[in-house]
């Protein structure tokens, strides 16, 4: 019987972007998102699977993405030297 790992949503934080002064929201954002797909794809096996898992690509100032991942994959990503932190997409309260 196949078993299915539980997937949860995570934020993967990679630091800041080094966009130049002539940052183009359209072109550069697309380039950054592609690089996020590539990075995540290297853990998930393919660009396509990464595209399905990733639901936010932070492209302007914050470098990172949010994706639905298995716990083991999240732990593996957290160990990558390019990664500052990986944390659960938790809920916060209005104060």
């Amino acid at each position: 019987t196949p078993t299915f790992a539980i997937k949860k949503s995570y934020v993967v934080y990679l630091g800041a972007h080094s966009h130049g002064p002539d940052f183009s929201p359209l072109l550069d954002s697309e380039r950054v998102t592609q690089s996020h797909y590539e990075f995540l794809g290297s853990f998930l096996g393919s660009h396509e699977v990464a595209k399905e898992a990733l639901f936010y690509s932070y492209t302007r100032h914050i470098n990172g993405f949010a994706a639905t991942l298995e716990e083991e994959v999240a732990a593996e990503i957290a160990n990558h030297p390019r990664v500052i932190s990986v944390f659960l997409n938790k809920g916060r309260k209005l104060h």
Binding site: A16, I62, A66, K90, H95
Partner: protein, 655 residues
Amino acid sequence: TTRSWDFLGLEHNGFVPKSSLWKKARYGENAIIGNLDTGVWPESKSFSDEELGPIPPKWKGICQKGLDSSFHCNRKLIGARYFNKGYGAAAGPLNSTFDSPRDNEGHGSHTLSTASGNFVPAANVFGFGNGTAKGGSPRARVAAYKVCWPPIDGNECFDADILAAFDIAIHDGVDVLSVSLGGSPAPFFNDSVAIGSFHAIKHGIVVVCSGGNSGPADATVSNVAPWEITVGASTMDREFPSYVILGNKKSFKGQSLSAKALQIGKFYPLVSALDAKAANASAADALLCKPATLDPKKVTGKILVCLRGQNARVDKGQQALEAGAVGMILANNELTGNEIIADPHVLPASHINYNDGINVFTYINSTKSPKGYITPATTKLGTKPAPFMAAFSSKGPNTVTPEILKPDITAPGVSIIAAYTEAQGPTNEEFDKRRISFNSISGTSMSCPHVSGIVGLLKTLHPDWSPAAIKSAIMTTARTRDNQMEPLLNSSNFKATPFSYGAGHVNPNGAMDPGLVYDLSFNDYLNFLCALRYNATQIEMFSEKPYKCSKKISLTNLNYPSITVPKLSGSIAVTRTLKNVGTPGTYRARVENQAGISVSVEPKSLKFKRVGEEKSFTLTLKAKNPKAAKDYAFGKLIWSDGTHYVRSPIVVKAA
């Protein structure tokens, strides 16, 4: 808000003196204040754009209507966006109503209008607290970033959405971000608000956060990063008294904004929620008037007495009404003490303090046919003492970096009247079909945008000041005395400490001319991260260029406007640097000492010849004997040239 700006000294009975920060800062003209919250009710008069000029050219944001064709922006509400993918990842597929920045809850409209709403005359809640509603930066522009949605397990706002909103808001060109939400403190780079605000301050954006409503227990404060301004909540000099009168002629002053009143002078049977318990309910739940815990046969036609839990604003009124009560008395527990909050209940009701609650319960338990009456609420101004700390306001110490005092400041956060959604009734209770344009709510969510509005004014007045300089100006000019010139109290009438109020109660007119500031650059924060043992590779990921941690790094030496030493062993020398942002002058140091700790400052005076000049000093703290300051001790450092008073709290605990 209809009273708090008067209480904060920006106006007096509607008159705005020339010396007011409002006049000096042109009411925050053209500052842009963003709000991460539940969205905005665009039809509110607080966001109309009459008399406002063109949108500032630096603005790059959009009005993302989504599927809500009735949503609109204007020259006041210059931007709105919504972020729901992180929420959707937790909640499952979302329907089309989630494709809108519209505020269906009320919280976001309230906070945004507190920070920057227009002047709106005749604002009130069922006639109470009537006045002209005003935001802190009434001529600033606003942008709503909707990141909070209906709660899932009590949580409304998800990290992935919060981070997305920060990323876009920085790009859009906001000057200030107001963030009235939070969670359990976590390491800074596992915390979406800390990460987002770290990137924001790098771009000169000031981030103001609420400290949380988990007080009065210690070590409950959230949003504790040093680059955030963290705000506690306190009262102002306005009350909405509604008296509870018992059959034995004893009376107790409560608070209420009930639109309905009992028949004048008629006494009603009084029943404790415990005695009105339904057969299958627990006594503890019934006493709190939780849903399905009350027996209508025991409640109908009576005034029901419920005990308040941690959160006053729950559906106790609805439960009482559903069970047939004619009125409700809400009594504090021991923890919430004297903090009584005026809320717009669905039935005649009054919220009373802990001691009075005990008296009411004792009367019920000792009387065969207890009777009571609740007088209609009224509005009373000029009450004393004010401010005092709200019991709900979260407290330090900071559990992530105890060397940084949090909260930083306190501001009005109790019974604040500001704009509201018209998608909900004022109690947010299901069958409250009433709709009002302004509502009264309480929380650090309400105090946070007061500070955001003040930051908007300071941004307009001093566009060259860094986020750290603005924060320093706000903190070092804060007050620690109430309107009776006595030390700030907590809700149980004890002296409050900097763990409740940080540097003190915000004083906007003082903040425009602090004399000196404790400034910080982005590199100082990188050094702070070095001290937290982030390695060079990680630091470079934030700095975008090679960065070498300086050798001598200590968390206590971050140039912060407050001084905290959580583990004093023997003695410690703490260094700070002051920058002159006022006139040339000589400042002398004075220390208000703390028991068991000796404090010395070197040099004792600093002479500033020009604006921008920086001078450093060392503060040496020493435990007078090994047993001294086993618990936290509190003191104060004051630099003064006779005109300016640059105050810093000192908080020390011996190791």
